[in-house]
Amino acid sequence: MRLPAVLVALGLLLAGIPPAGAAKGVAFPDGEWEGTAIWTGAISKKDIFASGSGQSAFTLGIDGGEVTGGEMTLQGTGQSQVPTATGKLNILETLQLSGTAALVKGFGEINFSGTVNVQDFGTVPVSGSFPASGSFSPTFASCGKVTGDLAADTRKVQQSYGFSTSVTAKFVAIRTAGGAASAGILEEYKALTAQLIELEDFSANDLLALAHQIDVLNAKILGLGPCQAPPPGFEKGLSDTLLTALFQDLLEAPAMFPDAFTPHYLLTLLGVGIRVGAIGESVPGSAPLKQKAKELLDGFEAGLEQKLDEAIAAGDAPTIIDILIGAQQFGLDALADKAQGALAQVQP
């Protein structure tokens, strides 16, 4: 009977501490924190497959760079498939948090209940629990906000077992101010990130409105109170990694496939990308984010050049002027030079 393998596949979706703990400069500043994450993704290896989604929440106390206490819960659903068996489970993971401000560890258990269908045997109800562990590190920290991916270390474990994985659990934690204010802000942030994840069809104005919401939220977070010193690993001038990643995903389509977009739309989206730190010099430090930012910038520039070529062919001077001014503003010198030359041809 393949029942244990089905459960092991699901268990691998969630937990594990990689052999070597991450040692990064970024760490939670001292204080009390409350965090939330959307957990989603899948793992696969040959004929073994598991996927799931859920919500995670945690509280965390940090003093002198050490975790003084905290708890994380993850509630969700998962499906798994191995040869001759499939499983469908509700999952509740509870971890007690310890470790350091740079590498938070969790130990606890996963409770599950659901059904497993075994070929030639039928569907059987299953429930139970097994030990669980996990760890995570922040990738961005400011006085009032910390972001990262709860599943970053989990992915390393999954990969060490030979699985390909798309599991992510991007989190944001807000410094708690001992009242309803911080909880409300966290809920707003959670709603905003959920909106960004679920957004499919959007206009430039939709993204401008979201960028404005981020400004308002950041102002509220600053209102929770200043910290005494810059947090460990704090780099001035950068945006938070969570919003950067989410906006980079959103901007991929218009940057890579500009045909469906007007020049004005492309210029506005390029501006939004720079505003939220998904493109440009405010992109936070990790190499994948910076690489993606460069690809997006190159994509927008190529898209605008395509629009410029179309405007030149049509003798459309106003559009050439729009692209010229936009290119000059965004520092796209080669594009600006081409637009300048084109304008002289169109309007000799």
């Binding site: 210029l267 939004v272 106003p318 000059q328």
Partner: protein, 142 residues
């Protein structure tokens, strides 16, 4: 290094005027005038006047301000660093905005900061997103 240059909108307006077109299809800069009949009080007024911050001593998170432009539905502001790379951008109907979109940000907060040798500019857009006026590229250092 960033090529410090002024926007050429006034020149573009003149080009447009010569052929009966305008810088952006209607708006203060290009309402079909010609060289003999300067647009508005003259093509110089097609440029947006930037009023703050000062070029030196702007602080790390300055508030940018400019004069409103008739016919503008929105403004696009972009801040470049000393290398000419975009650091921050913003688009909206207001005529002032703090760098990073949040007023009075403290030191250890997220978001862009002004570095020495930076520069900024503003373009005014009509309701269709066409440029109706643009500012010079102006230096700003903390």
């Amino acid at each position: 290094m960033r090529r410090l240059r002024l926007f050429t909108l006034a020149g573009l307006v003149l080009l447009g005027a010569c052929t009966g077109g305008g810088a952006g299809d209607g708006g203060m800069a290009g309402d079909g005038g010609n060289v003999d009949e300067p647009i508005g009080e003259g093509t110089v007024e097609a440029a947006i006047e930037l009023t703050a911050p000062p070029e030196e001593g702007a602080g790390q998170t300055p508030t940018f301000q400019w004069e409103p432009v008739e016919g503008a539905a929105a403004y696009r502001l972009v801040v470049l660093d000393a290398e000419g790379r975009a650091v921050w951008a913003w688009e909206g109907p207001d005529t002032s905005v703090a760098l990073g979109g949040v007023l009075d940000r403290p030191e250890a907060s997220e978001g862009p900061v002004l570095t020495p040798g930076s520069a900024w500019s503003v373009a005014a857009l009509d309701a269709d997103g066409h440029v109706v006026a643009a500012s010079p590229l102006r230096s700003a250092s903390p």
